[in-house]
């Protein structure tokens, strides 16, 4: 457990020393979201309707943007080998790294989303549901993404390949996440969507670090 905390602290420290990378993904999120009204037109009713989908798709892309970095630096400088040789199970260390990724790449999106939601004239209730769905959904993105990042480590054209592998797997998160807000806006209640999102998160938290670890071991061979 100490090693888990150690790697979490190290990754957070590294992210703090390289704030620009974190901020780039956030700006990307903001710009993508802001492009939609410009492309579609400023009609408020329409914007309100597409807002959950737009925000979720943008969050998906922004979270994916930072996935490349998840293991790449550790792979390059040899830290990954040291992690694999640690007496602590590699799965636990991978879990620590994924948590750090979520704290630096996912959580900022959750906090920024309501501000961007205002651009789309979402009600405060819808904004709350949006934040809640992102809060449950973004860790899911980090977990699934870790598998893709581990698989494409050191592979030619890894970045594009990563999106091809990971985006189809993100679809359930997108459907339930954006669906939660839409269902609530339609007066159907977001409870079902959110609990399914939570169930998916629990499932991924259990399996994804394991799968990512297996992929990392293949890369290290």
């Amino acid at each position: 457990m100490n090693a888990f905390v150690a790697i979490l602290r190290r990754d957070l420290l590294l992210a703090m020393r390289r704030k620009s990378e974190m901020l780039t993904a956030l700006f990307f999120f903001m710009i993508v979201v802001s492009l939609f009204p410009l492309g579609i037109g400023p009609e408020t009713a329409l914007l309100r309707r597409i807002a959950p989908g737009v925000l979720w798709v943008a969050a998906l892309l922004a979270a994916m943007l930072s996935l490349n970095r998840l293991f790449a630096a550790d792979h390059q400088d040899g830290t990954l080998e040291q992690m694999a040789l640690s007496p602590t199970p590699l799965t636990l260390l991978v879990g620590g790294k994924v948590l750090a990724h979520w704290l630096t790449a996912g959580l900022p999106l959750v906090l920024l989303a309501p501000v961007l939601g205002l651009q789309f004239d979402l009600s405060s209730r819808a904004l709350g549901i949006l934040m809640l769905s992102l809060l449950l959904g973004t860790p899911l993105l980090s977990l699934i993404g870790a598998i893709g990042a581990a698989l494409t480590l050191g592979v030619r054209g890894g970045g594009v390949l990563l999106s091809l592998l990971v985006l189809p797997l993100y679809i359930p998160a997108l459907i339930f996440g954006a669906g939660a807000v839409e269902a609530d806006m339609a007066g159907l209640g977001a409870g079902g969507h959110l609990s399914l999102l939570g169930a998916l998160l629990a499932l991924a938290a259990f399996f994804a670090p394991w799968a990512a670890t297996a992929a990392l071991r293949i890369t290290l061979e």
Partner: protein
């Protein structure tokens, strides 16, 4: 004691080596030699348990490594080609986080003492990106002074070191062997270590 029998390594279509036997007992060192591409690094990675051998098996204290993996890794210190140094962390932070991630937290006094001994006095708190290649190597080598690992597997530890540092590292290795430690390393340089040693030439 580390023993290996009939190790073979295949990379893609090519068979790098096969039928490699070796044994390293406490107080012994083994220098692995061979031309570029002979598979020195691959052999060390196989011995460390990072990659599986195509053939053969490895024993630690008389038992297959696969069975005693955690115990083996708790007693192993492996330094590869890449120094595992983060550019954004200082030498001290690098040393401490590496130890903590390895499951052996390190107090600051020990880490500072190690860095000073390895010749980085006054540079402990500089971000590693301003250090030279040789100084980064020294940060990595400082790990040798911090742990209680019995078996050291070092891939080209003398690379990028100046003459003084080579002597110092030889001293550190001698000490380790004198304490009853085990050492396996590769080097293109002719190194004179004390104690009971052997050389292994990798040929096709």
């Amino acid at each position: 004691m580390l023993q290996a029998h009939g190790l073979a390594c295949v990379r893609g279509d090519r068979r790098l080596f096969s039928g490699v036997d070796l044994a390293v007992a406490p107080g012994q060192w083994l220098q692995v030699e061979g031309a570029n591409g002979a598979g020195k690094t691959s052999l060390l990675r196989i011995l460390a348990g990072l990659s599986p051998a195509a053939e053969g098996h490895i024993e630690w204290e008389g038992r297959p490594v696969a069975e005693v993996r955690d115990d083996f890794h708790a007693r192993l210190l492996y330094l590869g080609h890449a120094p595992a140094i983060k550019d954004d962390l200082s030498a001290l932070e690098n040393l401490q986080t590496a130890a903590a991630v390895g499951g052996r937290p390190l107090d600051e006094a020990t880490a500072l003492a190690a860095l000073r001994r390895i010749g980085l006095k006054g540079r402990e708190d500089l971000p590693s990106r301003v250090l030279s290649q040789g100084q980064k190597r020294r940060v990595a080598l400082a790990r040798l002074l911090c742990g209680q690992a019995r078996l050291w597997i070092l891939d080209e530890p003398f690379v990028a070191l100046d003459v003084g540092a080579v002597d110092m590292l030889c001293g550190i290795l001698d000490e380790h062997i004198g304490r009853g430690g085990m050492l396996i390393f590769t080097s293109h340089q002719a190194v004179q270590l004390q104690g009971n040693g052997a050389r292994l030439e990798l040929t096709r």
